[in-house]
Structures are given as C-alpha cells and as structure tokens.
C-alpha cells in the first residue's frame, strides 16, 4: 500500500502493463509445461523461415524481412509521388490543381486491397519503351500498388503542413520580392517539414501494416509463408503461429507510433 501511494498515476498504469506482460509470460510458461512446448518448438523451428524466407535464416528471400523491405521501398516511392501530388494540389493554376485533387481523392477513397489488385492487373508483365524492356515482377507491382494510397495520404499531410503556415508569411516574403519557388524553398518548407514528420511516420506505420495485403500478389511475404506452413501443421499449432506473427507486427510498429506521438507533442507548441 505504501509502495502504491508512492507511485504516480502513470507509474501505476505502467505497473499494470508490466503485470500483464508478466502474466502473459507466466501463461506461456504454464502452457509450455502443460504440453504447449511441443507447439512452441514447432513455431521456433519455423521462425527463421517466417523472418527471412529461408530455413537457415540467410539469405533473405522473403518473410517478415520482405515486408520491411517492401514498406521501405513503397514509402520511398510514395514520398516522391506524394510530394509532387501535394504541391500540385496547392497550385494556384487550375488545370494543375483540379486534376491532382481529383486523383488524390480517388486514391484516398479506394480500398488498399482493391488498388493492389488493380495494379496487379493493370500493369503488364513487362513493358517495352523505346527498345528497353522494363519488367514488372510481383514485388515491383506490390511496391507500386501500396505506394499509390500512401502517396495520397502523404500529399494530404503536405497540404495540411503547408496550409498551417500563417498566410502573413507569404505576404511578408512576397513584399520582400521572393518568387513562389523561393518562398517555398526558403520560408515555407523549412517550417512545414518539421510539422510533416509525424504525418510521414503515421503514413509509414499504416503502410507497414498494409504490407500484409501484398500476399495477394504472390510474393513470399510473411503471410504467404505462414499460409504455406499452416498447410503442413496440425490445427492446434495454428493459434501459436498467428500469435507469433501478430507479435512481430506489434514489435515493429508500436515503437514507431510511440516516437511519432512524442514528436507530435514536441512540435505542437509552435505556431504562426
């Protein structure tokens, strides 16, 4: 009781969460003693395969590592596309602004899975441009299919960040003789970038979670491998495998969410 009263509210909360984590650990131990260890050892034997796509853990050919690679490649593409789209939706020239707004809303309103399927079927197996052949293997299609909705998300983040800069700064820069490009480069972007970081991280976390959908393209991501493995396992083990994969996603995405929230709080105070 004395220890309890010494803890702050957040401290007590953290203690409960630790207690839950401890409880889960105890449950795993009890379950292992009661015959679950055979199940856990099956999961453990398959873990390198689930993580890297090869039974010995090296080289990386798929698995959860492929989900991470896919998310990074997609995010890189989405950042480029999203920046172009975001700035285009801010253009004062109607013929640029209106189509990009329409495109952004179209991408934002369509389901990720349907967009991914659409990319899978829209893009040819390979494309011939001026004598050079560009191949579209399933991985590239997955990167593009996941980058499209993420780019739309991110362009909205850019729009929000740029519009959050007070209009007085535009006027001040204009009166000093800056052109539009110069204002963006020297006045608006340095400030907007700071406010974009959390939005960018949130987009990335959403994208990482969505990489699970890439299993429909047939690449050897963690879900494809899981499904192949489960075909060989008995029914009881399935639960253990699913819990492991759920834990992998939480272990990767939760720290990102925590950092994003901390940054958000740090940026919140500044205005104008």
């Amino acid at each position: 009781m004395i220890a309890g009263s010494m803890l702050s509210y957040d401290g007590k909360k953290r203690a409960v969460l630790l207690l839950i984590a401890f409880g889960v650990a105890v449950w795993i131990g009890v379950d292992a003693a009661a015959g679950g260890s055979a199940h856990w050892s099956r999961v453990l034997a398959r873990l390198p395969l689930l993580l890297t796509g090869s039974a010995s853990g090296w080289p990386i050919t798929g698995g959860f590592a492929l989900n991470i690679i896919l998310s990074i490649a997609s995010m890189a593409l989405a950042t480029v596309l999203g920046t172009i789209m975001g700035l285009a939706t801010l253009a004062r020239f109607g013929p640029i602004r209106v189509p990009s707004l329409l495109l952004m809303n179209f991408l934002r309103n369509s389901p990720w899975l349907v967009l991914l399927f659409a990319t899978l079927y829209f893009l040819p197996f390979e494309m011939h441009v001026f004598g050079t052949t560009i191949a579209f293997p399933p991985f590239v299609k997955a990167v593009i299919g996941l980058a499209l909705p993420t780019a739309a998300n991110f362009s909205e983040v850019i729009r929000g960040a740029v519009q959050s800069i007070h209009s007085g700064q535009w006027e001040a820069a204009r009166s000093l003789g800056y052109g539009t490009g110069q204002i963006y480069r020297h006045v608006i972007m340095p400030q907007a970038l700071r406010r974009m970081i959390t939005g960018w991280m949130n987009s990335y976390a959403l994208l990482m979670i969505a990489t699970a959908l890439a299993t429909v393209t047939g690449i050897q991501d963690v879900l494809t491998i899981l499904n192949t493995l489960l075909a060989m396992e008995n029914e009881r083990v399935i639960v253990y495998f699913y819990l492991t994969i759920l834990f992998l996603f939480i272990a990767y995405c939760y720290p990102i969410a925590v950092v994003a929230r901390r940054l958000e709080r740090a940026v919140k105070g500044e205005s104008l």
């Binding site: 389901p111 639960v239 995405c253």
Partner: protein, 238 residues
C-alpha cells in the same frame, strides 16, 4: 471504348452477384461501424474515469489492434476461434461446425479494429476540449452529470466528427479485405466474376469505381453532418 469489353454486365447472373456483393459490403460496414462507435465511446468514457488499471487495459487494447494488420486479425479470428472451442454440432447433419460464420468473424474483428481507432479519436476529442468551457459551466453551477450531458458531450461530439469520418471511411475500405476469408461481399464476387469471364481488367475498374462512389457518398454525408452540427463561430462553422 479503349478495347474494354463490358458485355458480361448484361448477364442477369452477374448483375445479381454485384448487387448481393454491394448489399453485403454495406451490411458489414454498417454493422462494424455501429459497433466500432459504441466501443470507441465506451473506451473513451472509460479513460475519463482515470482508473489506472482500466486505463492500462484500454491502452493495451488500442495499441494491439492499431499496430497489427486488420487482414491478420480477420484470419486469426476465422482460423482460430473454431479451434479454441467455439464450435457447435449441426443438428441436421450431426457434424461439428464453427459457431461463427466468416461474416461474423469479419464483423467482430472489424468492430474491434475500428473500436480501437475510435477510442483514440474520441479520447483526443475530449482532451482538446477547451478547459475554459468546463470552468465556465462549473461556475454557472452545473453538476457533474449535467455538465457532461449538456456541455462536454455535445462539444466533444463536434470536435471528434472529422476524426470519426476518417475512421468510418477507413473501416469501409477495410471491409474489402473480408473477401480473403470468403465473406461474400463486393470484392469476393468481383473475384468470382473474373474467374468466370476472364475480364479481369474490366471487373477491377468497375469494382474500384463502385467503392470510390460508395466511399465518396459516405464522406459527403459526413461533411454535411459536420456542417449541420457545427457551432456558429466555432471550429469549421463560420
């Protein structure tokens, strides 16, 4: 046009499939949205009570469901609930069948996923409520309950609406993933149709358009609701 062949659309069987798919998608979205809003309200209310162990449990729930893929949650529900003992014996055949259908599994996991997002949205709505309003209500002699019901709830609802719109559209879009666990919604029937006709491109374009139109209607309706409920001179109401 553009070499696209939509002659299969004239077939009443395919029309029926598309219609059934849309109806099932709407059912799934409506059911899970309602449940998600309810869960979100309970979760956010639970957080305002400031009971540390309840706070910890709600935070755990939110983080688990927010940081795992909804597709994986649905697969987990679909493949493991029946293994964990949720089975009944079908009286007509005597076979042991799963208690929950694919639709029920999808609805449950979507509700929990949406509920976690909604909890977070409602919580931030309550948190961003200006302190001065609560102080003003207190100085006017409002009691705890009257203050919540007449001052805090109406304002928090309006602050939360834009966030709620995001969550509902997100949830609507996520229902398409239920096709993976064989829930016969729009995306599932799309697969059936192109397996039949081999008109993959045409079917995908049509389905994409249907989803965009449905989600656009939802966002439009929510925008109208926001405008209708906006306080004059507060937030977006000018």
């Amino acid at each position: 046009m553009f070499g696209l062949d939509y002659s299969w659309l004239a077939d009443p069987a395919y029309q029926q499939w598309l219609l059934t798919g849309v109806v099932n998608t709407l059912n799934l979205a409506a059911l899970s949205s309602a449940a998600a809003i309810l869960i979100g309200m309970l979760g956010a209310l639970g957080l305002t009570l400031r009971i540390f162990w309840l706070d910890a449990l709600i935070e755990l729930f939110v983080e688990v469901f927010r940081n795992t893929p909804p597709l994986l949650q649905m697969l987990f529900a679909y493949f493991t609930f029946s293994n964990l003992g949720l089975r009944v014996t079908d009286p007509s055949t005597g076979l042991s069948v799963p208690l929950l259908s694919a639709f029920a599994c999808a609805a449950i996991s979507l509700s929990l996923f949406g509920g976690a997002l909604a909890t977070e949205a409602f919580r931030s709505g309550i948190e961003t409520m200006p302190r001065s309003i609560i102080d003003a209500a207190r100085s006017l002699g409002y009691g705890r309950w009257a203050r919540f019901w007449r001052i805090e709830a109406p304002i928090a609802t309006r602050i939360c609406l834009p966030g709620l719109t995001n969550i509902l559209t997100n949830l609507f879009k996520t229902t398409s993933q239920a096709s993976v666990i064989t829930v016969p919604e729009l995306m599932y029937y799309a697969g059936q149709i192109y397996n039949d006709t081999f008109r993959t491109l045409e079917v995908m374009i049509l389905v994409l358009l249907i989803y965009v139109v449905l989600v656009s209607i939802l966002t439009f309706a929510m925008a109208r609701l926001e405008a209708f409920m906006a306080f004059p001179g507060y937030g977006r109401g000018h």
